[in-house]
Amino acid sequence: MKLKLKVWRQKNRKEKGKLETYSLDNVSEHMSFLEMMDVLNEQLINDGVEPVAFDHDCREGICGMCSMYINGQPHGPDRGVTTCQLHMRKFNDGDTIYIEPFRAKGFPIVKDLVVDRGAFDRIQRAGGFISVNTSGNTQDANLTPVPKKDADKAFDAATCIGCGACVASCKNASAMLFVSAKVSQYSLLPQGKVEAKRRVLNMVEQMDKEGFGNCTNTGACHVECPKEISLENIARMNREFLKASITSEK
């Protein structure tokens, strides 16, 4: 199939970027979106143009690196998939496809379609962990009984791959779905209860510092999330934050 691509090109963090138009003639509908981008880059290199920089790693939907805002939606028009899992058969011959980076103050553009999602790492570092003894006396995790339902919910929350599509889709560039998934995956388990108060206070504080917007419960994040993380996690975090900010000593 033939495609017209409008791709965001931006040299570096400082310079202003703009949309450039490229044409591709020989795209197979079996390609993934990233493979189509590879073909584009090969063509650009042959033409002596600098290839488009974009993030990717696992190419199987588990690492969260691939980003891109494709035709007005993060990870493109398909539901519950990352860009690497998006197939070209979702598009039609002759289509024009807009390809932009994830846009948010908290995700500064590094180059072209590559954005710096370090803010997520800093939020995670602020409280997204549990403290365990690793000195050789590590306790067997299975010694602590966990109700199946809680384990399932914690696991569902833990499937978040930190891709940032929630931020990219949100009209407020809010990171609540990501942060709430990371809060929930621990707070649902007995092992996570010890640090629960500190965790939610510190992670939310870091989230605000990074310049993400305020959640207005539009639900766009859940719809666009490749792992379909539930909005229930946001309610849980709101609840925990209320409890923690009223009862914590600090």
Partner: protein, 284 residues
């Protein structure tokens, strides 16, 4: 952390939004029930019931406290909402060239600030039309009743807060509502402000307007009112359930019932409000 968190964190700003919003929803129910009296009772009885109700609402200390809480909630909700909206705009300094938000979110949820601002404009107009006139207009008339004599001439009487009637000729009005006996030069009663006639003449297009000129633009007032109620309905369509999510009230068992209740509330309450000026326009 925790002290400042209650005031300044993103989540806390949203609690205040939802608490004030839900309080305003309660206010809407009370205000609606009070207003519906104007179409449920008719004639002299309707006038009396409504004006007595208005008197109660402006004189009972508990209601006064509630009304201050309501003014505060509206202001706080509006200011907080506008602050949140500007912060949210700043969180994405460069917009997408091409975006399809309709694919992932409901329209009302994306226009809360615009809907809210329209409601604020409505509240200001609404208060200056009724509350303002009632409190500050020197010519705000008092409740009167026409007694028909056997020879079919009229005797116009003021209704007093004691439930008695005083002939209009006998008294003059001091300080808006005090009825002063002309001969004794003594306060012998207090009248009711005639909010009923003010309202009926505002939305109704003919006659019976005791002391009020007929409103040539009644149809415009009705249209604007109904439009504002549609705006309110959209605001609540998203807002009512959003408020519970913000407060962390979410449970598989109750979510669908709560969501249904929210949808019914957001349609029914504005619809019932809108039915009032429509009824007045059609019947009075």
């Amino acid at each position: 952390m925790s002290k400042s968190a209650i005031l300044s964190s993103s989540i806390a700003k949203k609690w205040w939004m939802s608490l004030t919003g839900l309080f305003l929803c309660l206010f809407l129910v009370g205000h609606l029930l009070g207003n519906l009296q104007i179409i449920f009772f008719s004639g002299d009885e309707g006038q009396r019931v409504f004006n007595e109700y208005a008197y109660f609402m402006t004189h009972n200390p508990l209601i006064k406290l509630l009304s201050y809480l309501t003014y505060f909630s509206i202001l706080f909700h509006a200011v907080d909402g506008i602050i949140l909206t500007f912060q949210n705009k700043r969180a994405r300094p460069i917009k997408y060239a091409y975006s399809k938000p309709q694919k992932n979110s409901s329209t009302p949820s994306r226009y809360m600030a615009i809907l809210g601002s329209a409601i604020l404009i409505f509240i200001i107009m609404h208060m200056s039309n009724f509350w303002g006139v009632m409190h500050f207009d020197k010519n705000m008339p008092l409740h009167t009743k026409n007694l028909v004599r056997p020879d079919s001439s009229y005797q116009k009487l003021y209704l007093t807060t004691n439930g008695t009637f005083l002939p209009v000729e006998q008294v003059e009005i001091n300080n808006k509502t005090e009825l002063i006996d002309k001969e004794l030069n003594l306060k012998i009663g207090e009248g009711y402000k005639d909010l009923h006639s003010l309202t009926v003449s505002f939305f109704g297009h003919n006659k019976t307007n005791k002391g009020f000129p007929p409103n040539k633009y009644a149809y415009l007032a009705v249209i604007l009112y109904v439009f504002s109620m549609a705006v309110l309905s959209f605001h609540l369509w998203h807002g009512f359930n959003s408020a519970f999510q913000t407060l962390g009230i979410s449970h598989e068992k109750y979510n669908s019932a709560l969501s249904l209740f929210g949808k019914i509330f957001s349609v029914l309450v504005p619809l019932a409000f809108a039915s009032i000026p429509i009824t007045i326009f059609l019947t009075k």
